[in-house]
Subunit: 329 residues, 2 copies
DNA sequence: CTGTTAGCGCATTCAG
DNA sequence: CTGAATGCGCTAACAG
């Protein structure tokens, strides 16, 4: 298998030094040429060597504008982990949700040691460029199932939602509403599926009038709950797929002259830092947010070191019972 | 004098791009060639341009572990501003509150374009090193009055606290408690001074039993308020120097069987994103947090460009009246 | 003699 | 359309 660089060079139609550059992941090779040479190298059983020398000590993290305390907490965990490993985090709060590729390319050009992308998954072209350059990538809570060859991490969204719903059902609730997240995202889909599975298993119907699919925001929860209360079919409990939407739901219930949890129970999802201080303290599903950031960085460094990692990691959620849930009246 | 690069290139016997590279101090020219080209350039009255590209495009930001939503919101503003200017933010969440100097040195070694330090002020030695290297520094909400030659930014803490207290007084409150921040910090001192000034101006005594100096945290507000309610002297209103401590105060009041604002009014300070969603919605003093981050970056870039900037910038706070304050019973 | 690194010029892009 | 700036692949010199 000890193929000569000259052989490959001739095959692809470039010079020997160019093949050497690609083999060592040096920057001054165009994406097109790199691609062709990489293919030939692989065919001959040679693999791209990770950049031994120039480590900039920089890890790039991208979040999109819209996120709230969720992203901040994960970043905090990632920052602590990076600190431990002597790395610094370059944080990009991207105003353009669709410019994940541009971000990746800029970071690559600067010589980043690795990329952590929140939710967004770079395009196949961009991922290939990253792989060719030996720059590792980890996606946190991917919008869509991460494609083969991508490393990703999330919480057990299905199980968490299942546990939340089971908690309500075990208290005796039967008319349970759901305020899902945006159902074009995998995590929201998984939570909704968990809700439905628990209801099904308990032999309960899901009333379409008691399902809102708008989003994770406070106002989503508020508006959804108002609509349900104004409609004829009042639920005795609400599964909100985020702490924020739970907060909005509680507000709407109060404004309607009802009490939580006496009239309606509410359970959230996330366990944000402030959620134990809401009124009433929120029963919710805890995601290990800081740990997700921490592990994302660990995975990145393992990838960079050429170690094997699982393609997808799921961290366990847990039920945190506080005072916003109770048996129905 | 308008000598063409082509002319010089021919004279020295190199290509036009090579002359261009020397003129712009690019690295990929040999010492020998550079010398000959430089001589020819000077003969034609052209001078080597200073490395405009000695910029890494990186701005370093340091926050300490302890901060909550406050720091996150300021960082968000800074990130947006950096984005607009094509810079990236290197975020360091430092577990060691006293290692500001070490952070500054590491960032300098990496070739940062500028430093934004939250609260902490680097030592005089470190500041001199920065000045010598031409690396600008902006301190956000300095712990102590920033020394000469340092650029800093904060909100109008005194005026904000004065306004908050005046609001309570104008509602008719006389027994007003204060939960100050940690009084070793300038911002907490200024807020406490604003409180005292407003009380003095209204001819009101400040009861030492109604002043707590523990800190800005939720539990600080909670513990302080419990102590006051358990003591003999119940206030009719509380000025909390942060939204978090206000939140803790409200919780303590509720647990004591009293109501906000019917029995006791509470006003906060910050206007964090969640404060409009507390129960009741919190009356507070808004700090333009995102704008502080934004302006910090603007100042940094102006300093870097050699433009004059004010040594200290104060951004205006404003009173936001919601539902946690009302006239006394 | 194989693989790596430096540095130059071609071709292309960019600015006026 | 012209002069300048840059990306990138080559040759050449070098190292093991």
């Amino acid at each position: 298998m000890a193929a000569q660089l000259a052989e490959i060079a001739a095959e692809v139609g470039v010079s020997v030094p160019t093949v050497s550059k690609v083999l060592n992941a040096r920057p001054d090779v165009s994406a097109a040429t790199r691609k062709r040479v990489t293919a030939a190298l692989l065919k001959h059983g040679l693999t791209i060597r990770p950049r031994a020398r120039s480590s900039t000590g920089l890890l790039d993290v991208r979040i999109v504008n819209l996120d709230g305390a969720w992203a901040e907490t994960v970043v905090r965990g990632a920052a602590a982990s990076a600190q431990r490993h002597g790395k610094d985090l370059v944080l990009t709060v991207d105003p353009d949700p669709d410019d994940c590729d541009g971000w990746a390319r800029r970071a690559m050009a600067r010589g980043t040691d690795g990329l952590v992308s929140f939710v967004a998954v770079p395009s196949e072209d961009a991922r290939n460029d990253l792989a060719d350059s030996g720059v590792p990538l980890v996606v946190v809570d991917p919008l869509h199932r991460a494609p083969d060859g991508t490393t990703s991490i999330s919480a057990t969204n299905f199980q968490g939602a299942f546990d939340a719903t089971s908690h309500l059902l075990s208290l005796g609730h039967r008319r349970v509403a759901a305020i899902t997240g945006p159902l074009h995202q995998d995590n929201a889909i998984a939570r909704f599926a968990g809700f439905q599975a628990a209801m099904l298993q308990a032999g309960q119907q899901v009333d379409p009038a008691l399902v809102d699919r708008s989003g994770y925001g406070i106002t989503n929860g508020y508006d959804a709950t108002r609509a349900m209360l104004d409609g004829g079919t009042r639920p005795t409990a609400i599964f909100a797929a985020s702490d924020d939407s739970a907060l909005g739901a509680i507000r709407a219930i109060r404004e309607h002259g009802l009490h939580v949890p006496e009239d309606i129970s509410v359970i959230g999802f996330d366990d944000l830092p402030h959620s134990q201080w809401t009124d009433p303290p929120l029963t919710t599903i805890r995601q290990p947010l800081a740990q997700m950031g921490d592990v994302a960085v660990e995975l990145l460094l393992r990838l960079r070191a050429g170690l094997a990692v699982a393609p997808h990691t799921e961290l366990s959620t847990s039920l945190v019972v506080r005072s916003s849930t109770a048996p129905p009246a």
